[in-house]
Symmetry: C2
Subunit: 316 residues, 2 copies
Amino acid sequence: MQIDPNHLIILAAVVDEGGLTQGAAALGKSQPSLSRSLSALEARLGLPLFEKGRRPLIATELGAALAAQGRLIRAAAAEASVQTGLYAGGKTGAVRVAGTPVFMDAVIASMIAGFQQANPNVRIDQSYGYADTLIRDVQSGTLDMALCPLPPDAVPEGLTFDEILQGRNVIACRIGHPLARKKTLRLSDIAPYPWIAPPTASPLYQDLKAILAEIEVDDFRVSFSGGSISAVRTVLEGSDSLTILPYSVLFMMRHHKSLTALDIRIRHAPRHLGILSAQASSDRPVVRRFQRHLAHEFKSLARTITHQQQASVWGV
Amino acid sequence: MQIDPNHLIILAAVVDEGGLTQGAAALGKSQPSLSRSLSALEARLGLPLFEKGRRPLIATELGAALAAQGRLIRAAAAEASVQTGLYAGGKTGAVRVAGTPVFMDAVIASMIAGFQQANPNVRIDQSYGYADTLIRDVQSGTLDMALCPLPPDAVPEGLTFDEILQGRNVIACRIGHPLARKKTLRLSDIAPYPWIAPPTASPLYQDLKAILAEIEVDDFRVSFSGGSISAVRTVLEGSDSLTILPYSVLFMMRHHKSLTALDIRIRHAPRHLGILSAQASSDRPVVRRFQRHLAHEFKSLARTITHQQQASVWGV
DNA sequence: CCTCAATATACCTTAACGTTATGCAGATTG
DNA sequence: CAATCTGCATAACGTTAAGGTATATTGAGG
């Protein structure tokens, strides 16, 4: 016996509202429409849904039972509408985002926290990676967006790269480091100190090699490698090691007052931190929404950085 | 956003079956039909339900979310069909039945038990009453059926009375009763013994009065009154009291071997035990089914009674 | 008995559904 | 890499069913 869900919805409305007229009003239809629909349903079932010859139109046992199912259907349809609304508004769904480890942990994580506070039904699937794999995954659709530094001319075809910060790296050390006090620094001054090495695949590693080549040190001493930003920070704080970090990462840790940057400008190819995404990815409301959130957060971060630099309170 | 439940059902089928073609087969429709329905839904929502340009037709997050609702709707519609089937087959619903107390307890209760064993989803709402109130309640639709003795000419207009047993009453006593041994009994023999009186409203009470009038006893001694069949039986078993009971009630208690009937024929107006029901009540499948069950049970009960009487194993 | 309110019916219009035939594109295989 | 195959989308057309307005009908209550 095939039953049209719409008929069950109508039945539920009529039973719940207590009459054809009220039910019609509740559903935004006309009374004769409901009358006919229910008659059709009764005819199809071959069984009465309402007691006959009763004016307040009282449901039979069967009518009541089917009305219960109609209520479920109505609720499901309403829930579907709600889900659609949330989805369209970017309030639900999943975002797959990746980026360079240090940057994700030190900068993006807190932005994700803020987003999730406002959007508890959005799931963020985060992972780590470097430029080449990130590009590949964004292109293949495995990732919705990636956060990484990229040279301006290295943006692959078909991808969008929204710049969010200058990709400047600095040499970081603990605040009490011998070099931190010196006003004028030469590259050769840093030669004696051991290094915390970034992962080989990281662009930071290239920058580190460039620095050391500049001061003509071939076999630099690596005291620690392979750790996340948390481990790096701990080691940095407890030793005279140096490392190379994105300026923004160091900036985000300013409140701990434990690390600082040496006053040495590192030369490297010009690049920006940015959000890499497929051009067609904007059809996912959540993704767009999260991307806007990040862009907004970075804009205010950039403002804060500029302000701080002008105030010279926390100094590079 | 108004969403057609049928579209959600289609969506669920396509997602679950893994394609338009399979989904169409599952729903018994054609593939183009589903294609168009889903296109219409996407257009209405303004959001894609499936990843575009994908051959195995994979659902988007929204598509999956709405498919879940579609599954609920499909389940509810299926449940409605099941309910309808059960209802039409008389396997579910409620039956409101009433009858004279002694008869309901001693005879009908075990028949109800058998019915419920086979039809656990049918609810039996039983109550007690005598002819006049039973007739009124059946006529008003408060009762679906009533079981009581009725003279053939007393069947009210608009009601059906299906006879199921002869309405013969007998004088009952314990097996060890002094009168039970006597082969030939006269009405005057019973005069000395105290009576257990049926409720005044009961037809049994009239019969009792008739008997006593026949033996010209005006003020008979009532030792007990107002009890249910259970209480009456207990008192009867433990004393030399007499009472008047429908023969069928006594018959149902034959296995206890504690009560018997005196060999005296009570004269009363001819009447039958029967099922009283409104003529229009047959539109309730459960009622019809239960009524058939009772009729069947009584037919076999009548056979058993006849058989027993011929065998003279248990005497009247 | 009469009136009122609520439901059923009549009739019409329109939109949605279903089917067949066919075009098109992603996948697969050699 | 090309050819083919499978599966989805589109078109055209007929049918069904839903919705609306106007109106008849029928219980319920005074």
